[in-house]
Subunit: 463 residues, 2 copies
């Protein structure tokens, strides 16, 4: 079988075996059941008759042949034997959940080496060890049952399990849904490049996101292969790397047991391939959202109009945007004179500082006249969540929609910053209403601005 | 009277007059009434008989003499006349709410000049124009009735009104309370230096926070005076500046009509006075909280142990902390060997990556052994808000308390990062429980780390 076929087994398995199922980790079973997984689910346990109402097989050898996916969670010292048995049962793919591999100690390295050799000489392919596994809304199963069942267009491959969970949860919260997610840990067999290659040609995937920590210990070709798939890929591809500093590299070694790389190679990757460099976890979170909502609204100019409700925040954010290299050109005559006549306090230069008028009829008119200017690439608007109902708010919300519709017609992105504060419930409500309309929401102007830059960067590379 | 006496009139007024009161801005009156303000409240209105149940005077000249504070909200073209009348009625202090001054246009500059000249030749002192005014929990009144009535130890003086509101709300939310807050806008009379001088010697104030945009247009001595008070001050003093970039300076001009300054002067201020440089609004928010909770836990060494529940976040955060110049020394033998024996997966090198054991008895033992090392200056722990009740959570919470108590005994700060995610209600509950115990809570490891650096910096300057 080709790697692509193994990927289909991983993301759309017709049968899953859990080895070993246990009551302590019953959540794994309950999760899959709760998701209405439509394939066959087999449990293997030495000690338990049943887990979560499903009868257990005694041994891997009792299972039917040709199961699509086995999830292996056993003591690392038994790992080699179990993998051997899985190979004998012609299981197609393995998710090795078991930790305590190369990231942990010398014994872990030896275990990984042995398992790696077994797999390489077999027909089975594996993810892990030391990983959470697969989330496939279309395949109707997920390692975490709380992830959204909605099918989206973002694919994620990651060398960190908890980071994967955090990322999926926060993206779901901001209205972003996934096509396919794989937490692959130490990646002793299937690697980041295998997944990127698959996602690049997957019809269901429009945006590719990656958390990378290091190259696998037993695969000297992965660097070259990654380079090639990143060169070929045409989709927005957001790459976050951990283990950049010396101390960070050591932390990565203790986390995924992977091998660090030369920083110069990475600069070449960011300069010469499709990979967009995410400088922090937050930037990955925000830029994923930006691409999800603004795929047809990529800015053609690296400039924004900033619209605020606080003059101080306007001034501070202007400083930050200048540091980032985003332009904030002043609104020029004749529009400037037109705008000036419409306000009695505040400012219409850019930033637009428009206190007290956000629910009036002239508010969207002012904003739209500024956004319409051809030297403006997009708009970032900061708002609070003071209230989320009542006549005043409804008029304000309609105003925001008028601004959004206008920007959309022009093909310019409209990003909203809604900072976290004391009004956490209203923020949730307001955020939900905005994203339901297709407007992305960020926690600060700066974070929105960094996402804007990535949209611009992608547009530039592809124009 | 001395400036200090005027400050007392501002923060503890025995009488307040609102000129002009209006139903449209009834919130100003309702706010003060709702706060159980204990002094005399007078309203002046040309057109209305009463506002919010309080009878209105027809004219300023009808008011009694020697009122402590007048809040002036009128059309800017009438400002000069009203200020003149206030001077005649021997009112002690003015809060000029009216906007449309130097920040707006040429006419605004002329109005400010005229009002400035009037005030300078009188016994009255003023804040504003273009500002929200005073929040004084001890004086029992506030321009925003939703601010906490609790009296705390943070003083804030700011040239932005909305930024002031945002700052107070978010600090209150994180368990931080204020002694005195003044939004002073364009500051044509009383200036930032006047407030800093007063806060420096105010018994009720332990931490001074500032948002600065520019020097007043009519006062050439303010630079020198600010330098002097910042030199003399001994309290933690957190200074956030807006209007640093060229474009930011223009935005500041449109916001407070103030005059920008040379960047080199500011480097000297940060190097040679008590001012701690806040590089963003978020850093001001976080560092204020850190000083509030950790005033007796200032780190003596610029190093932390980082404790996480996600290996990926641990790796990424290590990279960020290295960039900031915070050390994360590896835990050394013999402690290292002792710790290694206590885990079967994860890492105890630093970061401590401790999956699955957070509610076990060994979790705080591992953390405390690391924190006890004398090359560790403090601890940052990242947690999620998966659950906030039940036996597992309660054991986890007790574990966190054990770590906190241990750090406290050692005089080392213990900061918690609790990122915003989908579980926004649980985050609120968890955050409330932590701050009730005196543990500061931040939205990310990086933000906690920047606050840690400021604690360290203050300790260094004063040791």
């Amino acid at each position: 079988m080709e790697t692509k076929d193994y990927m289909e087994k991983l993301f759309y398995p017709k049968s899953i075996a859990m080895i070993l199922a246990s009551r302590k980790r019953a959540w794994q079973v309950i999760g899959i059941k709760g998701w209405n997984y439509e394939g066959d689910l087999y449990l293997v346990s030495k000690s338990e008759e049943e887990v979560a109402g499903i009868k257990c097989f005694r041994d891997v050898s009792d299972l039917p042949d040709h199961i699509d996916l086995a999830i292996i969670a056993i003591n690392r010292r038994k790992l080699k034997d179990i993998v051997q048995k899985c190979i004998e049962k012609k299981i197609h793919t393995l998710h090795i959940f078991t930790a305590g591999g190369a990231e942990f100690d010398e014994e872990g390295i030896e275990i990984e080496q042995a398992v790696h050799d077994l797999i390489k000489n077999s027909e089975v392919r594996a993810i892990g060890p030391n990983c959470m596994g697969i989330y496939s809304p279309e395949g109707k199963f997920s390692y975490d049952p709380r992830f959204s069942k909605k099918i989206g267009s973002v694919a994620f491959v990651s060398q960190s399990g908890d980071l994967t969970s955090q990322f999926v949860h926060v993206e779901n919260y901001y209205g972003v849904y996934f096509s396919k997610v794989a937490s692959i840990g130490n990646s002793i067999d299937l690697t980041i490049s295998d997944f990127v290659s698959y996602f690049s040609s997957d019809d269901k995937t429009e945006i590719i996101t990656i958390y990378f920590e290091g190259f696998p210990r037993f695969d000297e070709t992965e660097g070259k292969r990654l380079w090639n798939v990143l060169r070929k890929n045409k989709k927005p591809l957001l790459l976050l790397r951990g283990g950049i500093s010396d101390q960070g590299k050591k932390a990565a070694e203790s986390h995924t047991g992977t091998v660090a790389t030369n920083e110069r190679i990475w600069e070449a990757i960011y300069n010469q391939t499709s990979a967009l460099k995410m400088k922090s976890y937050e930037e990955l979170v925000d830029s994923t959202q930006a691409f999800y909502f603004c795929k047809n609204l990529l800015p053609k100019i690296k400039s924004v109009v900033l619209i605020t409700w606080s003059g101080g925040k306007a001034v501070l954010s202007t400083d930050r945007l200048m540091e980032l290299g985003i332009n904030m050109p002043e609104i020029r005559p004749p529009t400037r004179d037109q705008l000036k006549k419409m306000i009695s306090i505040g400012s219409i230069r850019n930033p637009l500082d428009l206190p007290w008028i956000d629910s009036t009829e002239k508010y969207p008119r002012i904003c739209n006249l500024a956004i319409n200017e051809d030297y403006i690439g997009g708009a970032i608007l900061e708002t609070g969540a003071w209230e989320t109902s009542g006549e005043h708010f409804n008029r304000y919300f309609e105003n925001l929609m008028k601004i959004f519709e206008n920007a959309k017609q022009l093909g310019k992105p409209f990003l909203i910053s809604l900072p976290h504060s004391h009004n956490y419930k209203q923020r949730k409500k307001f955020k939900d209403r905005l994203i339901a309309q297709g407007i992305p929401v960020f926690p600060s102007i700066l974070r929105a601005a960094k996402a804007f830059l990535n949209l611009y960067e992608f547009q530039q590379r592809n124009s």
